[in-house]
Symmetry: C2
Subunit: 442 residues, 2 copies
């Protein structure tokens, strides 16, 4: 966009407050402001994983306009909302047109009945109170807000591989150094390797102490759900080191094994060292409706003894205005004991069946397969093919028109793997399995 | 909460990575983590303004349990949603229960038809394209995200008084020094005084250059809407200094004077130096539904020539997952030319009539009154009473059971003023006026 005339500095009566140096920069840069770019943004080398996958998918479609693409890439829900939950949203919407049903700003922390109900459904008999539960517009957003609470001067550990948002938000907040291409890691982040060799649980004896430990179980992308004894070990490690665990349990309701906790607070004492984030996205099909929550126990304290909950509450009230009241009523409907909870369980069951089908088919093809039992993700090991994750992603897309997610997009520890998501319509899952079988079965 | 047993460091086989010093701190602090508190949070001396007002209101009610409080404090909408808009929300909700109407993750930047429609309604004939408009869950949240884009190493100016979120988020992001109690200002922030003496427009000749300038028009709290020539002056000032303006036009549709622009982009060249944030909250009664937008023009560049929109898009995709799809359909309904826009205009008209009534009554009482013409806020000057804003707030609450907002809560330049919000039910506004008349009319 040419800006020759508008860009020239106007003749004004204000005394200049720019140094000669700065002005020179500005004029030579033509139209640029003099505002320095936040250097943390420059550290992010590639786009966020899923937009990049979207780009490659579009490219594939341009080359193959008749391709019937099946997307098992981004873990996006496909099944319609259960009727009672949609009616919860709808009734709240129509209520807003009435004097009795209208509500404006709500508590930024969420509607008290919803906070209470989340406590009853997810933290029954655990040492968590309703006022420690903050309702939000989703886990991804809450992770960003948690990073703001921690600030740039903390150290961070993540499982490797892991959901990219932990690392990317750490980079944006300035907790890291630059990206080291030779090892595909950001400087300053502790990558805790999780692979078949260690049952997808990090060898903590080899992990450096960090202030914050992001831990996701059931894990995205590996589908591994940590056992009780593994989580006991993790909590003990954090206590010994004085670390704070940010425990992402967004897939907890996919766990079917009693020996694998659905909440970190099932581990005694975890409320002194752990925050937990969770979401309605994958339980109630709310990926688009947007509703999640974060638990910050009052017992969790910074080094100076100040409660973390105070600062998290500050962020929630200063940089956030509460989740949509409509979505919150949808959340209440989803947690209704008679109608909502069974409908949620059915929805989770549907995707779990998908996961079992995919897992079975990949095993049938002779691949090494992980996950897909207590999680909606199947983690397939292609490393013995001598191909990278992106090469395997490209081959699957090329040969079967199926979009997956390259494991290396989740961290260097994911290299050689591909993640297949079980979120899809049953007929697409069946069709995808048939294509995979035809292509890869020996 | 006692934690004697769980808090003691367990005997583990991991090699200790804590220095003896750190461990000592931890043990003596009893149960605290070793994670340092983000020092920026400690700089915020008091709670966010509106929770503090809520606290005082509760105190008043405890002392006077029979008081019929009328709240003209926080600017919260009270009128039910117009029927066509509520039906837009409801239809989208029920649609989510169908195969055709279901949607999961949407574009984080918003639904394309909504971005387009916002462009048509609010930026008609202005140099703004749909892909420069980012739909969000509200302006307050977008301001937080903008601060993350800018990072801690920029300088910031705000109107004084102004909406507290600009300053508070700047403090949280680390752009400021500590709070200087003697002048009620944070070090490092440029407070641009706006008062009756300068027609509520800063004397820019006296203002220091900063990287970012937050400017709100119609202003919250003063109710002043800047004229075209004032905004031309502001844009020229920003261009000369290479600053970026963050223009908050959340009340723009309350403007009735053609000489006062509803968008900063009405000023030629502003798209090279200004971001604009806006919201459905005060137009469609969406304070609880949560829907807003931010415009980041492609022509706006950092010093190094990189487009600001790239980094804002990065934050939107990394720390956010889009506004609720239900709310976005509500936004489309609100912008329907036949049903939605007239309903929005009627709603805005209702609150503007309220503003006129309050303004008239306060003038009738003999006070110096500002705002309330092109804005839903009335800014009353009590400074000649020799009382502070908080004292006047307390006196009004004590004598009339009306909650207002102390002007000093918006910055030191608001001292001596009280803000009265026109968001309320008509009968409450009438009742409030009667109480004010009885108490203050001489």
């Amino acid at each position: 966009m040419p800006c020759i005339s508008t860009c020239s500095v106007r003749s004004l009566t204000y005394p200049s407050v720019l140094s000669a140096n700065r002005r020179a920069v500005r004029v030579s840069a033509n139209c640029n402001s003099s505002v320095p770019r936040n250097e943390n943004f420059g550290k992010l080398t590639a786009g966020y994983l899923f937009p990049e996958i979207g780009r490659r998918r579009r490219e594939h479609l341009e080359k193959n306009p008749d391709a019937k693409i099946i997307s098992l890439g981004i873990g996006d829900t496909t099944e319609p909302l259960p009727r009672p939950i949609a009616e919860g949203l709808s009734n709240a919407s129509l209520g807003l047109a009435t004097r009795e049903g209208y509500s404006g700003y709500g508590a930024e922390q969420g509607m008290p009945p919803l906070r209470k109900r989340i406590g009853e459904v997810f933290y029954n008999n655990l040492p968590i109170e309703a006022d420690e539960i903050f309702v939000s517009d989703g886990s991804k957003c809450d992770i960003g807000r948690l990073q703001l609470v921690f600030g740039p001067n903390v150290t961070v550990a993540v499982q490797d591989p892991s959901y990219p948002v932990y690392v990317d938000t750490s980079v944006l907040m300035g907790m890291t150094g630059s990206f080291d291409k030779s090892i595909s890691q950001y400087k300053g982040i502790e990558y805790m390797l999780c692979n078949p060799g260690n049952d997808f649980f990090p060898d903590l004896a080899k992990c450096k102490r960090t202030d914050i430990i992001y831990f996701c179980s059931p894990n995205n992308p590996t589908g591994a759900a940590a056992t009780r004894s593994q989580l006991e070990e993790l909590v003990a490690f954090a206590k010994k080191n004085g670390s704070i665990i940010v425990y992402d349990s967004a897939y907890a309701r996919y766990i079917e094994d009693d020996n694998r906790p659905q909440s970190i607070y099932e581990i005694p004492g975890a409320e002194e060292i752990a925050i937990e984030v969770n979401s309605f996205s994958k339980y109630a099909g709310f990926t688009g409706v947007r509703l999640g929550w974060t638990v910050v126990p009052k017992a969790l304290k910074f080094e100076d003894g100040s409660p973390v909950i105070t600062d998290f509450n500050r962020v929630m009230t200063t940089c956030f205005n509460g989740a949509s009241n409509v979505a919150q009523h949808g959340g209440l409907a989803a947690l209704d004991e008679i109608t909502g909870v069974p409908a949620m369980n059915e929805l989770v069951g549907y995707y779990k069946t998908n996961a079992g089908i995919i897992r079975g088919e990949m095993e049938n093809c002779g691949f090494k397969v992980y996950g897909g039992v207590n999680a909606p993700y199947i983690w397939v090991d292609f490393s013995h093919f001598g191909k990278t994750s992106w090469e395997m992603f490209a081959e699957i897309l090329e040969k079967t028109d199926i979009v997956t997610t390259p494991g290396s997009g989740f961290g260097p520890g994911g290299e050689g793997f591909v993640r297949i998501s079980a979120f899809g319509k049953r007929e697409d899952i069946m069709e995808a399995c048939e294509r995979l079988r035809k292509t890869f079965k020996k």
